[in-house]
């Protein structure tokens, strides 16, 4: 029996859901709009929602005053770098655990997950000193190393849950048909593994892009990614709402778009495959 949903009810639900959705999204929308205002308009009372003189001046100013692009590149290098290195280390491990599991595989996986539970602050002091003494403080390399390590358990878990779904029989069938190992990898395994790897890549870039404990503590001027760059607006001089909004909009836009494309993978990745 198909449920008979009255149109009236559907309209009520639509209105309520849209209202709540817009309210939740409003701070982001407001930031976006403010980034096109002048500083005076940004704090005008009453505030104007749409009817103001749109200007892109803030975007130019943020770039020319604080070299926004360099921080943006720091974010790109750190998030992509740590994700790619993480994948290179994690793919063989996840592969081995998914296809030749032993009695201890589950324990190893749980142990890896447990390393995520160690609060970062517990190792802040030695990491800071190690980085300072080895010259890694405020370098992209240093940030890549730390972010690779903190996200490695998530990468392994996520890949593991994807690889686990590749049926082992297909490999055996390919082997029976006389496929060599290299052919097996190129024609059978890779196509099946790529969606999982891509999802893992996407989620991990989002996580690394937004990571804000280590990036704030281990970087200063030179290697500061966008998280740390935005934080420098917390003690502002003069009028700055419009510029803060412009910088924020540029910092969140790429990840917002990536994230919207990968909603489904987000759930799966963040719950270690427990909710699909």
């Amino acid at each position: 029996m198909a449920r008979n949903v009255s149109t009236q009810r559907k309209i009520v639900v639509t209105v309520v859901a849209w209202t709540i959705g817009i309210l939740i999204f409003f701070p982001i929308l407001w930031t976006f709009l403010t980034s096109f205002k002048t500083e005076a308009e940004a704090i005008a009372s009453p505030p104007s929602l749409l009817f103001f003189d749109w200007t892109t001046e803030n975007y130019h100013e943020v770039q020319s005053r604080s070299d926004y692009f360099r921080h943006f590149m720091n974010s790109v290098v750190v998030s992509f770098g740590s994700t790619l290195i993480g994948l290179i280390i994690a793919i063989p491990s996840a592969w081995a655990m998914a296809f030749s599991p032993t009695k201890r595989t589950k324990d190893v996986l749980m142990w890896m997950l447990s390393t995520k539970m160690m609060p970062s602050v517990g190792v802040l002091v030695p990491m800071y000193l190690l980085f300072r003494n080895t010259g890694l403080l405020d370098t992209r390399t240093g940030l890549v190393i730390v972010l690779t390590l903190i996200n490695l358990p998530i990468i392994i878990w996520m890949l593991y849950t994807y690889f686990k779904e590749i049926p082992g029989e297909i490999l055996e069938a390919a082997r029976m048909d006389g496929a060599s190992l290299s052919k097996e990898i190129i024609y059978v395994l890779t196509p099946m593994a790529i969606p999982g790897i891509a999802s893992t890549l996407l989620l991990n870039i989002i996580l690394a892009w937004n990571e804000a404990f280590w990036t704030l503590n281990l970087s200063a001027a030179k290697a500061a990614p966008l998280t740390a760059f935005i934080a420098s607006y917390s003690s502002p001089e003069g009028l700055f709402y419009a510029k803060l909004s412009a910088a924020s909009t540029m910092a969140i836009a790429p990840i917002l778009i990536l994230g919207w494309f990968s909603q489904k993978q987000l759930v799966r990745g963040l719950t270690f495959g427990a909710v699909k």
Partner: protein, 290 residues
């Protein structure tokens, strides 16, 4: 298929990850433990000496410590409460048939994808600011005195900001779980005369229990070490009113350069997290096996 040969190959493939994570767990942690027994301040290099448990007793008798423990728990529990209850409500709403469901979903997810420093600064300046913030404008519209959120209710403000960021996460996961609920079961319950409320209690809630467990586990891991939101909004203050354990250790280490004291604080944070994790891991271990 698991011959001796493939098994050793498998070990070789797993080894790099295990070794790296092992090193990451043991080396810095061992150093933290070592430092925590030293009197060691970066401003006085070369003066390091063994200090016994004095760093721990200093930390454990500091009134700021108890405030920090309280604040840490308040943030975790406050945010969990808001996001789980709000997440269930939102998920139930978004599961209904409506126009433009995909777009609403996108709007609701967005805060989770925002970097913490941006979220915190936008809320701090453009909404909670008592002079120029939108909330102040709304208050004045109703003839009320604008409320200075970050000065008068710093902890609550931090909880609100963090909850805004995590509500989408809870909603998304609970919604995904909700959508896997068998439609026929709901109809059967309806035909048997179960009202909306009892359908929720006896059918929907049990179905969601696994997802709720996962939400609590994962959020707790992250919420125990909320940092950026506090750093850019209140800086732990006024006084220590919004200082959590993570922020307290950070302040001890990088603002007061007290390596020994901060290390002791870090170890205490690790112990506390382990106590919490012990219970959580048992929970997730059970749900993941099911």
């Amino acid at each position: 298929m698991a011959t001796l040969h493939t098994r050793s190959a498998a070990r070789l493939m797993i080894a790099p990850s295990v070794l790296l994570l092992l090193a990451w767990m043991i080396v810095p942690l061992a150093m933290t433990i070592y430092f925590s027994f030293l009197r060691y301040n970066l401003l006085m290099p070369g003066m390091e000496e063994f200090a016994g448990f004095s760093n721990y007793s200093y930390f454990l008798t500091d009134p700021a410590f108890f405030q920090a423990i309280f604040n840490t728990l308040a943030i975790v529990l406050g945010v969990l409460f808001i996001t789980v209850v709000g997440g269930i409500a939102l998920a139930l709403l978004l599961d209904q048939p409506m126009f433009g469901q995909g777009i609403v979903r996108i709007l609701v997810i967005a805060p989770f994808l925002i970097m913490p420093t941006v979220a915190a600064l936008v809320w701090k300046n453009m909404f909670m600011n008592p002079v120029n913030g939108l909330f102040a404008w709304v208050a004045k519209l109703f003839g009320l005195q604008p409320f200075d959120f970050l000065a008068n209710a710093p902890l609550m403000s931090v909880i609100l900001i963090v909850a805004w960021q995590w509500l989408p996460f809870a909603t998304l996961i609970l919604l995904t779980a909700l959508q896997s609920l068998d439609e026929e079961q709901k109809e059967a319950a309806q035909m048997d005369g179960a009202g909306a409320f009892s359908r929720f209690i006896y059918l929907v809630l049990p179905h969601l229990s696994r997802a709720i467990t996962v939400v609590i586990l994962i959020q707790t891991i992250f919420l125990l070490s909320v940092f950026a939101e506090i750093l850019v909004t209140t800086n732990g203050g006024p006084g220590t009113q919004s200082t959590n354990l993570t922020f307290l250790v950070y302040a001890q280490a990088l603002l007061q350069f007290d390596v020994g004291g901060a290390s002791a604080g870090g170890i205490i944070a690790v112990i506390l997290a382990n106590i919490v994790a012990f219970f959580l891991m048992r929970m997730i271990g059970k749900t993941l096996e099911a």
